[in-house]
């Protein structure tokens, strides 16, 4: 640790020799680690999306032979017909990968690592070593999660929520054997990685801000990453404890979550435990997790909308307050996933109340974004489009939350496709848009090259249309009572009239999925062949754009500049340009805005 700090202080003398391995593999440089997160997250994203497309094809054309199934699933799709067990495994691993590996590690990992030191004016993270360990734990956990597909009895298949007893008893489901063990091990490692990362982010933001960078001059991205890290530190350990207790139940015969079970002709010894306890522990992480996924995306959006509107973000303090309010409320609403779990109905009332309160800070955020656009000079870069898209899906998906958060209404739509539509829009698509926006915006900073904008436009518009095409009609089949996680609906003639909707949804999903190739092509080809970027292509105020295009270890050659103003002096009257970098001192007679 101290040795590492020394290298920072002494970064001027270039004795710090880097080999290929220390530069590209076991790198302690936050910018390289961010790239590692981005690439790993992208690969996991591709795997997760392919899984969802296979599920959609199965739902639209159930039990029909499909070459893709046969090729990708092998023995799980005899003669191309998908097996019911592997369907549930796809549901499970798709959820796990997208929530944790793409939208937590891929999004937060990439942009917290890249932006925290650069935007607060630090040479690197507080501990580069822990940062490196954090990435490699994440990498190991990704590998284990993917490898679980090659276990004899199949990967975990109890849903990403892995409720026991289904997840605890190998005789209840094939995937609950070695597959579930690998899931639990992978998640335990993932949580360790996430905690190391989060601790590092918090310490860095608190201690390493450059001169003049007070908390109220921080860009909203940093506020979002900072608060996200705090929520992670509070809630992830609870999931770890749930996972450990589940391992105890599975392997050492304890009864934390199990009681009175008769399965496959025999009574098991478990007594006195309760699956509801597991649900509490799981959702104590599970709900804050939604905001761990979403807040960084909202932070990125705040920054990009302000920059591309050439306007200050509207209501900077209200934005911080709403981030804090959302973070606080997110830890006391987990019970809305459990209205009908068998817990006391009075608790249901309490959680309805706290849940619907979250709509207030969320509404403030949405209106502030819209007001930021008002009378702006909008630069329609792909990053801006994705940010506007995020606000759109955040509203559409968020609004149905007032139905699901209302315990009385939840009775009838709980665990139907209505829920699937809701959370995919509000956290899945929104967070994914945030990630795309971040990639388009900060790609020049990461790789010194530009992404192709026209491919970006095609990518955005097709994705935007397909996202609505997939998830908007899905609300309606949910309201018609169609349960989620059904391998096929053909055993219920009651739902036969919903099949055409399912086909439409699948077609949109397939088109949207295939068009992600445009993005992948753009990303990977631009890394090597993109147009060379200038230092500050978007004319942004934040500090990362004051660093040279070619990365240097320690970020700034020479002194770290000090900060004299907030990050949002766009189109400020009295200035020549429509932007003023944070490092530019106030002019004589210029007043800093009392934001």
């Amino acid at each position: 640790m101290s040795a590492h700090a020394d290298t920072h202080d002494a970064h001027d003398d270039h004795h710090h020799k880097e080999t290929f391995i220390t530069k590209y593999i076991f790198s302690q440089d936050h910018k390289m680690i961010a790239k590692q997160y981005l690439i790993t997250g992208t690969i996991m994203g591709v795997i997760g999306v392919i899984m969802s497309l296979m599920m959609r094809m199965q739902i639209a054309w159930p039990e029909e032979p499909n070459v893709i199934f046969q090729t990708l699933l092998g023995k799980w799709a005899p003669e191309g017909v998908m097996d019911a067990d592997i369907y549930l495994a796809l549901v499970t691993i798709h959820g796990t990968i997208m929530v944790f590996f793409v939208l937590t590690a891929g999004l937060s990992g990439t942009f917290s690592n890249l932006l925290i030191p650069l935007q607060i004016g630090a040479r690197d993270m507080a501990s580069g070593f822990l940062n490196m360990v954090s990435y490699w734990l994440f990498f190991i956990s990704s590998v284990i999660m993917v490898l679980s597909f090659f276990v004899e009895a199949g990967p975990a298949a109890a849903g990403w929520t892995i409720y026991p007893p289904l997840s605890a008893l190998p005789m209840a489901q094939g995937g609950s054997g070695a597959g579930m063990t690998m899931w639990l091990v992978a998640m335990a490692i993932f949580i360790a990685s996430s905690l190391l990362g989060s601790l590092n982010y918090v310490v860095t933001v608190i201690n390493l801000r450059t001169k003049g960078m007070s908390m109220t001059r921080l860009p909203l991205t940093i506020w979002a990453f900072f608060v996200t890290a705090i929520i992670g530190i509070i809630s992830f350990p609870v999931l770890l404890s749930a996972a450990l207790l589940l391992i105890m139940d599975r392997s050492f015969g304890t009864s934390f979550f199990l009681s009175d079970i008769f399965i496959q002709g025999e009574v098991l010894h478990y007594q006195g435990g309760s699956p509801v306890l597991f649900e509490h522990l799981f959702w104590f992480l599970g709900h804050p997790e939604v905001y761990i996924v979403l807040l960084p995306a909202l932070g990125i959006t705040s920054e990009i909308i302000a920059t591309n509107s050439r306007k200050p973000i509207f209501g900077y303090r209200a934005m911080i307050a709403s981030i804090l309010a959302i973070a606080f409320l997110s830890t006391i609403v987990w019970g809305h996933h459990m209205f009908i779990s068998g817990m006391n109905p009075f608790l249901g009332s309490v959680f309805t109340f706290t849940t619907l309160l979250i709509a207030i800070p969320s509404a403030v955020k949405a209106f502030n974004y819209i007001t930021t656009l008002w009378k702006g000079n909008l630069q329609m870069n792909p990053a801006m489009l994705f940010s506007i898209g995020l606000v759109s899906t955040f509203i559409t998906g968020g609004l149905t939350g007032i139905i699901l958060g209302d315990s009385a209404l939840d009775i009838n739509v709980h665990d139907t496709y209505f829920v699937v539509a809701h959370f995919h829009l509000v956290m899945g698509i929104s967070a994914l848009y945030g990630m795309f926006a971040g990639i388009y915006h900060w790609f020049p900073k990461m790789y010194g090259r530009m992404l192709n904008k026209n491919l970006g436009y095609i990518h955005f518009w097709v994705t935007a249309i397909c996202a609505y095409g997939v998830f908007f009609p899905m609300h309606f089949i949910g309201m018609a009572g169609l349960p989620r996680r059904y391998y096929t609906n053909s055993n219920f003639p009651l739902f036969d009239d919903l099949q055409d909707v399912n086909v439409v949804i699948t077609v949109f999903a397939l088109v949207g999925g295939v068009f992600q190739l445009v993005f992948l092509y753009n990303l990977f080809s631009s890394i090597f062949f993109g147009k060379k970027a200038t230092q500050n292509p978007w004319k942004s105020n934040t500090m990362e754009w004051t660093t040279p295009v070619e990365h240097v270890h320690g970020n700034w050659p020479g002194e770290i500049p000090s900060v004299h103003r907030w990050a949002y002096d766009y189109s400020k009257p009295g200035q020549d340009e429509d932007w003023v970098s944070q490092i530019v001192p106030l002019k004589e007679g210029e007043e800093e805005l009392q934001h």
Binding site: A158, P165, P312, I360, I388, D406, A480, P493, D497
Partner: protein, 358 residues
């Protein structure tokens, strides 16, 4: 072979994108200028108009969805006493959502179009307005207060079971992958039960306590019959993993948790026969049968059996992931008049007579 072909197709797609990008770049005069990958006025204009197009797309898809699927009988036509309460709360919420959605999406996309960037234009430096922010804090507070209050009243009414109304006590018993129902019998009291008492050899599949006097007249069935108009209180058990008893027509759902008894009560108000006779249900069933006839034609052409025509029945579905056959865990519910119910229950065997002695 297919793998190879798929890879080839993928490669060709990527090459095609590459070529298209190249051609497009060549047509752009400014492609040699620095920062040509930053949006220019032309991009702002095109994307501004596309924003309006997208707004229209959102409205159109909303209208199509509501017209085509907005009145599926499951959303109307509730068959329980508390059903209309939930439905009216749902409608109020939907109206609020609809209004907010329409307005905010309009503002968002319209602003994105109206204020699209132009060279030389300067944005308004407008960082704060406490009054505005207070307004859009307070309005949601008021709207949510209304929703919360109505929601909590509805919830409390549904979840508080009034034992004085002498509800019919029925146990719903879940196991991978089927449902059983146990009626209290003449005393309307369920005998004690625990999975440890399950004795497959004696056909005691629910683990009912044979020595409990209350258990003797219990009746175990594989179909759920309910007399119309009488409150029912379900006591739910599961023997293996979590299940969820979902009865969408009755706006009822509760998880079945191994190791504990959960409960949910409602009063069915529409018999199966009456529901089959409603015009909405007739339309729905006719529509479904058309679909099934079409599908059957295909199946028969392939030498498979045709599908059976569909008649409406209330259903109990499993709605908590429970294993391989989760997608096929169902039980028929029949709501009938008290007389029909009495006649049916008489034909069922009491628990003490259903045991096998050996």
């Amino acid at each position: 072979m297919t793998a190879l072909l798929s890879i080839l197709v993928l490669v060709f797609i990527l090459v095609a994108i590459w070529q298209m990008v190249k051609i497009f770049d060549l047509t752009q005069l400014s492609s040699t200028a620095p920062n040509d990958q930053v949006a220019n006025d032309k991009d702002n204009k095109i994307n501004g108009y596309l924003m309006i197009g997208f707004l229209i797309f959102i409205y159109v898809i909303t209208i199509i969805c509501f017209v085509k699927w907005g009145d599926l009988p499951l959303m109307s036509n509730s068959a329980s006493e508390h059903g209309p309460d939930i439905d009216s709360l749902m409608i109020i919420s939907m109206i609020i959502i609809f209004i907010v959605q329409t307005l905010t999406q309009f503002l968002l996309h319209y602003f994105a179009f109206k204020y699209r960037g132009e060279k030389g234009k300067k944005a308004l430096f407008y960082a704060d307005n406490n009054k505005l922010e207070a307004i859009w804090t307070i309005i949601p507070v008021i709207v949510l207060a209304i929703l919360i209050i109505q929601g909590l009243f509805t919830w409390t009414t549904i979840m508080n079971v009034n034992e004085e109304e002498d509800p019919l006590i029925i146990e719903l018993y879940a196991q991978q992958f089927n449902w059983k129902a146990r009626y209290g019998g003449e005393d309307n009291t369920l005998g004690k039960a625990n999975v440890r008492l399950i004795d497959i050899d004696r056909a005691n599949i629910l683990g009912v306590d044979e020595s409990d006097p209350n258990a003797q007249d219990d009746i175990i069935t594989t179909e759920l019959h309910l007399p119309v108009g009488r409150p029912v209180l379900f006591k739910m058990r599961s023997q293996d993993v979590l299940h969820s008893a979902y009865m969408p027509h009755f706006r009822a759902q509760m998880n079945c948790v191994p190791g504990m008894i959960t409960q949910f009560g409602f009063t069915p108000t529409v018999t199966t026969a009456e529901m089959r006779d409603t015009p909405e249900m007739k339309d729905k069933v006719a529509n479904i049968n058309n679909i099934r006839v079409e599908k059957s034609k295909e199946l028969v052409a392939n030498g498979e059996e045709a599908l059976e025509p569909y008649t409406f029945d209330y259903l109990l579905l499993c709605n908590k992931i429970c294993g391989t056959s989760h997608y096929n865990m169902q039980m028929k519910i029949i709501v009938e008049t008290q007389e029909e119910y009495d006649a049916w229950i008489k034909t069922q065997k009491a628990f003490k007579n259903s045991l096998v002695n050996n």
